[in-house]
Structures are given as structure tokens and as C-alpha cells.
């Protein structure tokens, strides 16, 4: 009886176990993009920057500056260049320094255009 009760309680709990272990729903969350530097050049980067509605992406020479704090995970960059952008799967992005959210993505692909 006590065992049954304990098991029932255990299985009856619907509460997420986060942060002890990942929640099932976390896999289906919209997440900021991750980039493939090998597929990125200035042309693709220009397309990504133009597709971003929030200015979260901008290019400085051969570096793509990605402001994760401005990203809304809308997925328009992934639509604009599916070969270069995939969902990152990262949702635990809270930080004590705003500057930690600004990422530099090198453009390592073959030069095209320009």
C-alpha cells in the first residue's frame, strides 16, 4: 500500500521537473538560430540581415554580429538561407551581462558577390 501510494503520487505529478532535468516541451520551443560559418559569405549574410525584422543581425566586414537579445526566433533567417541557418535549440539564455548576448559569427564561406 505505501509503495502503491508513493508510485501513484510519483506518476500522478504533472509538474515539470525543470531544472532537475529537461522538460519534454523544451524540444518544441522556438529558439534563436545557429549558423554554419562554412555556408556563410557576404552575400548570404546580407540576405540574412535583410530578412531579420528586428535588426538582430548585422554584418561588420567578415563577421556577422548576432544580438540574441533582439532575436524573436521568428525563423525568417532560416527561410532566407536554410543552408546556413538551423534552430539552435537553446532556450536557457538568461544572463547577467547584456554584452554576453551579442555573438560574433565568422563568415567562413567562399567569397561571393562584391
Amino acid at each position: 500500500m505505501p509503495l502503491w501510494f508513493a508510485r501513484g503520487l510519483r506518476r500522478g505529478i504533472v509538474t515539470a521537473h525543470y531544472p532537475a532535468r529537461p522538460d519534454d516541451s523544451s524540444a518544441s520551443l522556438p529558439t534563436p538560430p545557429a549558423f554554419r560559418p562554412a555556408a556563410l559569405n557576404r552575400q548570404v549574410a546580407g540576405r540574412l540581415c535583410a530578412a531579420c525584422p528586428n535588426g538582430a543581425l548585422r554584418r561588420e566586414n567578415d563577421v556577422l554580429i548576432f544580438d540574441v537579445g533582439a532575436c524573436t526566433a521568428c525563423g525568417r533567417c532560416a527561410d532566407a538561407a536554410p543552408e546556413a541557418v538551423v534552430p539552435s535549440g537553446q532556450f536557457e539564455l538568461a544572463t547577467t551581462a547584456r554584452s554576453a548576448l551579442i555573438k560574433r559569427i565568422p563568415l567562413a564561406g567562399e567569397a561571393a558577390g562584391e
Binding site: 504533472v14 509538474t15 515539470a16 525543470y18 531544472p19 522538460d23 516541451s25 523544451s26 520551443l29 534563436p32 538560430p33 545557429a34 549558423f35 554554419r36 560559418p37 562554412a38 528586428n54 535588426g55 538582430a56 548576432f66 544580438d67 540574441v68 537579445g69 533582439a70 532575436c71 524573436t72 526566433a73 521568428c74 541557418v85 538551423v86 539552435s88 537553446q90 532556450f91 536557457e92 539564455l93 538568461a94 544572463t95 547577467t96 551581462a97 547584456r98 554584452s99 554576453a100 548576448l101 551579442i102 555573438k103 559569427i105
Partner: protein, 188 residues
Amino acid sequence: MTLNGKEVPADGPGPASSAEDGLTPASGTGEVARELRQRIAGQFGRSLHIRTLDTGSCAVCEQEIRLLAAPHYDLHRLGFFFTPAPRHADLLLVTGPMIRAMDVAVHKTYQAMPGPKVVVATGACALGGIYPQDPFVHGDAGKVLPVDVWIPGCPPSPLALLHGLLVAVGRLAEKTPGLTFLADGEAR
């Protein structure tokens, strides 16, 4: 006046950083953050009261925050509670782009909270992502309040909010500085 180990002007909340753009933290932030975490862990233990402050958000952040109290996420199991009064609150959860019409309310709310207090900017609006140039808003919570923790997302999911709250009280480590957002070399 010093709050949370930071210098704050005596007449009201000041910007968190000395930088003009509000994106670059003042020097020594890492040390301040560590000290803050230790102080909060010592003083708040496992009970922390949250006041939410909507400064012109579209209310989707509020929907996600409200979900935190639902049985599935149940933030009470982690010792967090929502309070209706800023005078009872330890943590200010700010959403929205800091619309200028809320200046007085933001000021009064921050002043009413007893110290030590933590300010958490929630969502892309409060992080300066959506309205960086709009004349009706400050566009960035860091320009008005001394923000301690930034939670990105539009909206941040309840799990992301839980992570942010646990980072704010020093019970989880932040992962962001180690993330590169490069896809190569990862199995997908």
C-alpha cells in the same frame, strides 16, 4: 547610495551601465554580479517575492509569466512567489520597451521595493530589440533601471523565465557566455 553592490543615484534608479548604448556593462560587472548572487543567496534563501511590471508590452510576456504559476511549471516549488505590492517584492520582473508614459510608475515601483532588490529585464522589448529608436519609449530597460539579469525571448518561454529567475538568485549558472550559435560540429 549603494544597492546590490552598485552605485545608484539617491534620487532614483539610474542606468545600469555607464555606456551610452546600454548594451555594454560597466567594468567590474562580473564581480558585482558574483557579490550580488552571494548576498541574495544569503538573504533570500529559498523564498523570493516577485513583482511584475509591464512597461508597454504586448502582454504575451505576461501570459508566459502567468503560466509560471500554473501546475505544470509551478514556480512555488522553487520558492518564488508573486506579490501584488512592490513593497513586498524582492525582484522586479520588467517587461515591455519602457514606454515613457510609465516613467513615474517605474520610478515609484523601484523606489518602493526594499533592498536588496533585483531587476530582471524580460523579453526582447526590454532588451532593446524591438523598439530601439522609437521616440515614445526608452527602448531598453537598462536605460532606466539597474538591470541585473536579462532574459531574451519573444516571449521567453516559462522554462526560460524559470532559468532566468534561478540565475537571478544564483541557483543556476548562466550558459550564455559559453554559447557560440555556430551549428557546425554539432549532431543535428
